[in-house]
């Protein structure tokens, strides 16, 4: 049987000599599924794009890319156009941006069929309806515009589009990265079913081993442009051989695995501190029947946070879990006084949050924010020193500024501090940037840290390091933290208590073990059921 895709010694080098892919051999038979795992910059997307020659002009490709036995590198322009989509198609990363916002999705699904004239015009509409049915969408959705669809529905449209011309190979580049856990589970189930039914070869790219493991038969792990491990999915996930695969596998813990409780994967010699029992007594932060309403465009009110009463004790780490749009970020902003509540109140240290600007400034010395994306959370024109010193200058903290900045950088484990001070953010890695943001917060010696998805935009290996840092800060400085996340594994890794938020309300609050292992509310149960699972080694 001819493989649908065969790569022989594939190399991709960009102008400037950066080798993104350095000698990869892979074979995919019809109906097989292959997962490609790796961190950002490991060359997995370059590899995927090289298959259909979609790389930018400055990329040098060498080696052989055989699509159904035919080398795409040797194809004429016309032949390449015929092959694109008809025999291999791509589900692009970020369905939000890959769809044209001003055209109906039906037209967009039909576009490749019309381009390739694979069907007579009068059958195109029927085929679109059939494709929508395959991705479990009602045929009326063909008349919808992308903004009228949810994230999961858009991703289904992208999949329908990829299947339009009946390709033999589908390449899915991070198809579920921006989706919520439950939607992710649905999309993954859909992909699995379609691949099995239609005998398509699938190459799926992701940074999340468990997502790949739940869909693919085989896994290839890429590191610095090379495949470092290749094998059956369960073996790679449960019994990784290469050090990098081990790091990837450990980064996403299995909820319920006692080994990863209070133990995020870290290679830092400081290790993970022993468990700290939060001090009892008056909680540091308390919200009482908090409500936040937003006025909607075109009239009416939207209740983002509804009757939320939450406590964060001194030195306690509380994880606030929920899907996007559940109001968890609004709750965090209200807790920090960045958003005025419509009802109820926030109590800090037993006293209601001040409303005046002077009182709020005092409060903000004690409660600090760590944002999701460290790249945009730092002013690109400010050096690390300026970014960390910003809070010190605002509050005119006593003491030598340089020493305080150095201490904060050291506390965030950017050592030696002097080396980082004059650097601009764009020269740092994602993990280092997040440490700068944390150092900026630590410089003010806060007692409460509110972290909004602190590791969501970071690579797997960095994720564990940042989480371990949060645990160590709690042990050493007695720092309490409210960590907002959609990731149950994170809660299992570091939190003492977990609060589940659904449609603006807290549906379940309790000890991590109790909530995650014996969930009572059905929403928590469906969240847990949606976690991707990898079959055990057979």
């Amino acid at each position: 049987m001819t493989p649908v895709l065969e790569l022989r010694d594939l190399r991709v080098t960009y102008a400037g000599g950066h080798a993104a892919v350095r000698g990869v051999d892979l074979t995919l038979l019809p109906g097989q599924t292959l997962g490609l795992a790796g961190e950002s910059g490991c060359g997995k997307s370059s590899l995927a794009m090289s298959v259909l020659r979609l790389l930018p002009k400055d990329a040098q490709v060498s080696g052989e890319i055989l699509l159904d036995g035919e080398d795409t590198r040797a194809m004429s322009w016309g032949r390449l156009r015929a092959v694109r989509w008809a025999s291999a198609s791509i589900v692009f990363q970020g369905a939000m941006h890959a769809l044209n916002p001003v055209r109906r999705v039906g037209t967009q699904i039909a576009e490749p069929m019309r381009l390739h004239a694979s069907l007579p015009e009068d059958q195109v509409e029927a085929r679109v309806a059939q494709l929508l049915a395959q991705v479990e969408l009602p045929p009326e959705k063909a008349r919808a515009y992308p903004h009228e669809l949810s994230g999961g529905q858009k991703q289904r449209v992208m999949i329908a589009m990829a299947l339009a011309c009946g390709p033999r190979l589908v390449i899915a580049d991070e198809p579920t990265t921006a989706l919520d856990v439950i939607v992710q589970a649905q999309v993954l189930a859909l992909v699995t079913r379609l691949v099995a039914e239609q005998g398509i070869g699938l190459v799926m790219i992701s940074h999340d081993l468990s997502v790949l493991g739940s869909v693919c038969e085989r896994l290839a792990v890429m590191y610095e442009g090379q495949v470092v491990e290749l094998g059956s999915a369960p073996t790679v996930v449960h019994d990784p051989q290469h050090a990098h695969t081990k790091a990837l596998a450990a980064a996403f813990p299995t909820v319920g695995d006692p080994a990863s409780r209070y133990a995020p994967a870290t290679t830092n010699p400081a290790g993970v501190p022993p468990k700290v029992v939060p001090r009892a007594g008056e909680p540091l932060l308390r919200t009482q029947a908090l409500r936040v309403d937003f006025r909607q465009r075109g009239g009416g009110w939207m209740r983002a946070v509804n009757d939320v009463s939450l406590e964060v004790g001194r030195g306690e780490i509380v994880a606030l879990v929920g899907q996007s749009g559940s109001g968890k970020t609004t709750l965090a902003r209200t807790v920090l006084g960045l958003q005025q509540p419509s009802g109820g109140q926030v109590l800090y240290d037993g006293r209601p949050l001040p409303r005046g600007s002077r009182g709020l400034r005092e409060y903000r010395r004690e409660a600090q924010l760590v944002l999701q994306d460290p790249t945009s959370a730092l002013n690109p024109r400010h050096t690390v020193y300026e970014a960390v010193a910003e809070g010190l200058r605002i509050h005119r903290m006593p003491g030598d500024e340089r020493e305080l900045v150095a201490a904060a950088l050291e506390a965030a484990e950017l050592r030696p501090a002097g080396r980082y001070m004059p650097v601009l953010p764009h020269r740092l890695s994602g993990g280092q940037r997040q440490r700068v943001v944390i150092a900026g917060a630590l410089a003010l010696r806060p007692r409460l840290l509110v972290a909004d998805e602190p590791v969501a935009s970071l690579d797997a290996s960095v994720r564990g390091e940042i989480l371990a840092l949060l645990l160590r800060l709690r042990a050493e400085l007695g720092l309490a933290a409210l960590v907002i996340t959609h990731d149950l594994g994170l809660a299992w890794n570091i939190a003492d208590r977990v609060a589940v938020m659904y449609r603006g309300e807290l549906v379940e609050v309790g000890e991590v073990e109790q909530v995650l292992l014996a969930p009572r509310h059905e929403y928590t149960q469906s969240l847990l059921a949606a976690l991707p699972e990898v079959a055990p080694v057979t």
Binding site: R361, L369, L371, S376, A377, N379, T383, H395, M421
Partner: protein, 294 residues
Amino acid sequence: MTSPAWARRRDAAGRAWREFAANRGGLVGLVVLAVFVLVAALGPVLIDDADLDVTRATGDRLRSPSGEFWLGTDENGRSVLALTLWGTQLSLVVGLAAALLSVVIGTTVGILAGHFGGWLSAVLLRFTDFFLIMPSLVLAIALSAVLDGGAGTIILAIGVVSWPASARLVRAQTLAVEARPYIERSRALGGGHGHVIFKHVLPSVLPLVFVNTTLAVGTAIVAESTLRFLGLGDTNEITWGGLLRSAGSSGAITYGAWWYLLPPGIAIVLLVLAFTLVGRALETVLNPKLRERR
């Protein structure tokens, strides 16, 4: 900790200069501009007061160019060359001052409207709209007629009518910067309005303001000449617009005295062109989007 910051700024300035030097139009504009500035600065040294005094004029009236008067004479027998050179100073000063005034007002209003939003923004924007729809020349004429004559009035008149465009521009840029998460972080750190405006918003708006000022100077010079040509301001001050006016009123046009009309006219065109060329070149340097399109 200023040294790395300064080194970085020096680097950035060096890069910007290389980018600018690659733009031939901008370079030509810069050279022309330098010549005008030199003439304006050296005016009092080069030109004798006697040349400008009507009572001590040595030439005949409206003589065509000759060895003695390279660009001929005006209706009072003064050298047109000397008058044109002398006019450079006032034209430049008024143009720069008026542009500066307009950009300062525009930037302040723009940042306030963009930063605070809400009712303050609504009020400021309606205020801006009001000035935007006023026929600016008519407003400037009215202003300079009501206030007393002199360069100050002309500066005020031009500055007050030309700020709304930069206010709109700066507001848009402010809104774009304010949407970045680092502004949110700064607020969460306890930064007040002043901190956010001066530490984050202003530095990222400044390049835009700088370009805008350069382009605004050209417009202001034309406006100044227009007002002078219409006979507003102190008629004893020697400016290019004023020269054109006296050429018109003294019958130089019917007489065919092209040497009286052309020098100040060409000077205006050259100076405005120089400012526009430099402004456009700066715009491509400071706005990466335009640079790619080129």
